[in-house]
């Protein structure tokens, strides 16, 4: 994966590369939905269609050695952090070649070597661990930053509040990325939060909070870069309130009875991060088609790789319980 230029400015070629990666994540997740509906994938699946710019914008801004903790909606974060489509897909098929070797599944994607400390299926569950990781970096004087992804729904849970308080109190190098997709499963923001601006919650802990348009990958990248500089520079944690949108249901198969079709259609029309970037880059149709063909081939190959992967032995279930 090409490293982008450090100063926070992006060349057109970088953004084209971001587009490619976002499209890869989109096609990957569409394929995952398709294979799930075909009955090939076990478990619970949550896709993040519509939120690709957050995953790519944040992860591309990270430095070598920075770590993330993800959520139950983790495919995009994991791919953007550098895990190959083959390894992610193999995990979804429950194969030993998967990034968690078949022990985790969609909601528990790990890739420790590449700095992914795990996707968490307990809402808010990964936040305290990010504070602790950042504390370890601070203890050791390592110039690393720990980054937590979580949704607006997680800002109502105790771990969120305790973690933000602790992170700011100890001024650890952490960045809290709130992907405000406006839905906590089926519950809209207005039903679960008595405030409109989620960043107020960070401000209450004295934390630097920045609002970002999460459908604009360049804006996400730049805001993340500044947040990382702040945290890495010893100035304490940063809260990124990223406005995004989930263009699909909570889980694959969700009939979305709680949401109007008109609203969804309009949002798809106006808030798709891929369309936004394509227009910004003025990418011609044939170029987009070429990129699309390329990423679809990668996704197809990942499915083949996963299907041909190795099933764990049933008794492998007893491994990895203790170190």
């Amino acid at each position: 994966m090409a490293k982008v230029e450090q100063k926070g400015t992006l060349a057109k070629s970088d953004l084209r590369d971001f587009f490619r990666e976002m499209l890869l994540i989109r096609r990957f997740e569409e394929k995952v939905e398709e294979r799930f509906r075909a009955g090939e994938l076990p478990g619970f699946l949550h896709v993040a269609i519509g939120q690709e710019a957050v995953a790519v914008g944040v992860c591309r801004a990270l430095e070598e050695g920075d770590i993330i903790a993800s959520t139950h909606r983790a495919h995009g974060h994991t791919l953007a952090k550098g895990t190959t489509p083959n390894e992610v897909m193999a995990e979804l098929y429950g194969k030993l070649e998967g990034c968690s070797h078949g022990y985790g599944g969609s909601m528990h994607l790990y890739d420790v070597e590449r700095g992914n400390m795990g996707a968490n299926a307990v809402v808010g569950g990964g936040l305290p661990g990010i504070v602790g990781a950042a504390l370890a970096f601070k203890f050791r004087g390592e110039p690393r930053v720990a980054v937590a992804f979580f949704g607006d729904g997680a800002t109502n849970i105790g771990t969120f509040h305790e973690s933000l308080n602790l992170a700011q109190l100890w001024e650890v190098p952490a960045v809290f990325v709130c992907e405000n997709n406006h839905w906590a499963e089926s519950t809209p923001g207005w039903q679960h939060m008595p405030i409109e601006d989620v960043s107020q919650r960070a401000v209450a802990y004295g934390m630097k909070a920045v609002k970002v348009d999460g459908q604009d990958v360049e804006a996400v990248f730049k805001a993340t870069r500044r947040a990382l500089d702040h945290a890495r520079g010893g100035k304490g944690p940063v809260f990124l309130a990223v406005e995004t949108y989930r263009l699909v249901g909570h889980y694959v198969g969700d009939p979305q009875v709680y949401r109007s079709k008109e609203e969804l259609a309009e949002t798809r029309e106006t808030r798709d991060p891929l369309e936004h970037l394509r227009a910004k880059l003025e990418l011609p149709d044939d170029e987009v088609e070429e990129i699309d063909r390329e990423v679809q081939e990668i996704v197809e190959a990942a499915v083949e790789f996963a299907k041909n992967g190795t099933d764990p032995k049933p008794e492998d279930a007893l491994k990895n319980v203790y170190a």
């Binding site: 022990y103 890739d111 661990g129 305790e162 602790l166 203790y322």
Partner: protein, 328 residues
């Protein structure tokens, strides 16, 4: 050999580990200037400073989780949960996170964190400050659970817990903090998963944990006067459990009493009884007796508290019940 109290023995293990190893640090509520609610970490702030003897807000979820996160980066944090009862607040992090990261990652991670906590009846703290909750945690694959009953044990076991690559929930009993014992100058690590025979005997085995080890030893002395020889075994590590030591003791004595302060029903003793009956079925001359607290929250009034939790006389009564079944 110096004499150390149980409290000093805990402090000694923590301090020695921190002197030797920058990766070890302690964190918890009121542990710095105040030295902890039980005085365990007293003086450590002066030696190690506020970074490594780290006061936390009253935030059990975040402090437990932060310890887990630091452990996943290779540090060896010891988080103090002030009262066992407050483990309830940290349980999501201990059970869903600490116990499972290694597993869910397919073996990519280790989580070498220790959660020290304390509890126990005896001072009338009431229903929210004295529970014994070890049975909750032995039920969770991925956790190790230790319950030490003497100064030398608590020191050696805490050392091994800090240096174990798995998350350990480490129980201390409040009424034991003042208990003194001569301990060697050198800290002798005690491997996790090894029981200790406190007293050898021929007629009945009492398998006891925490405060009940001492109640069992007192009961054994009483029984001796009636000519009954009692063996007292403390598993010390509840998970992993030294099943062989327990079974072989009962094969020798043919009778077994299991004793802990926690509520009897569904308690740790139920599992011990199952292990022993399966492993020593043909050797048993009497049903296994269980001694524990009555099935109620802990009351405040001292007369009620005293009545709810078990004492030496309850252990002695259980020993006698096993003998009444004597086939002779």
């Amino acid at each position: 050999m110096p004499e150390l109290s149980y409290r000093e023995a805990v402090r000694d293990a923590l301090s020695r580990a921190m002197r030797e190893d920058d990766d070890v640090f302690v964190m918890g509520e009121d542990i710095a200037e105040m030295g902890g609610s039980m005085g365990v970490t007293q003086g450590m702030l002066d030696e190690f400073g506020p970074e490594r003897v780290r006061n936390t807000p009253i935030s059990e979820m975040a402090l437990a989780g932060a310890a887990i996160g630091a452990a996943m980066q290779g540090m060896r944090p010891v988080a103090e949960i002030m009262y066992e009862d407050f483990l309830t607040l940290a349980t999501e992090q201990i059970v869903n996170q600490a116990a499972k990261h290694r597993y869910m990652s397919g073996g990519q991670l280790t989580v070498p964190v220790t959660f020290r906590t304390q509890g126990g009846a005896g001072w009338s703290p009431g229903a929210q400050h004295a529970q014994q909750l070890e049975a909750w945690f032995v039920h969770i694959p991925g956790l190790k659970v230790v319950f030490a009953s003497t100064p030398s044990d608590v020191r050696g076991l805490l050392w091994s817990s800090i240096y174990d690559d798995n998350p350990v929930v480490f129980f201390e009993h409040r009424t034991l903090y003042g208990l003194k014992e001569e301990v060697p100058d050198e800290l002798e690590p005690i491997p996790l998963g090894r029981a200790r025979v406190h007293r050898e005997g021929e007629d009945v085995t009492v398998i006891a944990t925490g405060r009940l080890v001492h109640e069992a030893l007192a009961a054994a002395k009483e029984a001796e006067q009636d000519g009954v020889s009692v063996e007292v075994v403390d598993p010390r590590t509840l998970q992993p459990l030294d099943e062989d030591a327990l079974i072989s003791s009962v094969k020798k004595t043919n009778r077994c009493v299991v004793a802990h302060e926690a509520v009897t029903r569904m308690g740790f003793g139920a599992e011990v009884a199952a292990v022993v009956q399966y492993g020593a079925f043909d050797w048993l001359d009497a049903p296994i007796e269980r001694v524990g607290a009555r099935f109620t929250p802990l009351p405040f009034a001292p007369v009620m508290e005293e009545w709810v939790v078990p004492h030496a006389n309850d252990v002695l009564a259980a020993i006698r019940r096993t003998l009444r079944r004597d086939g002779d």
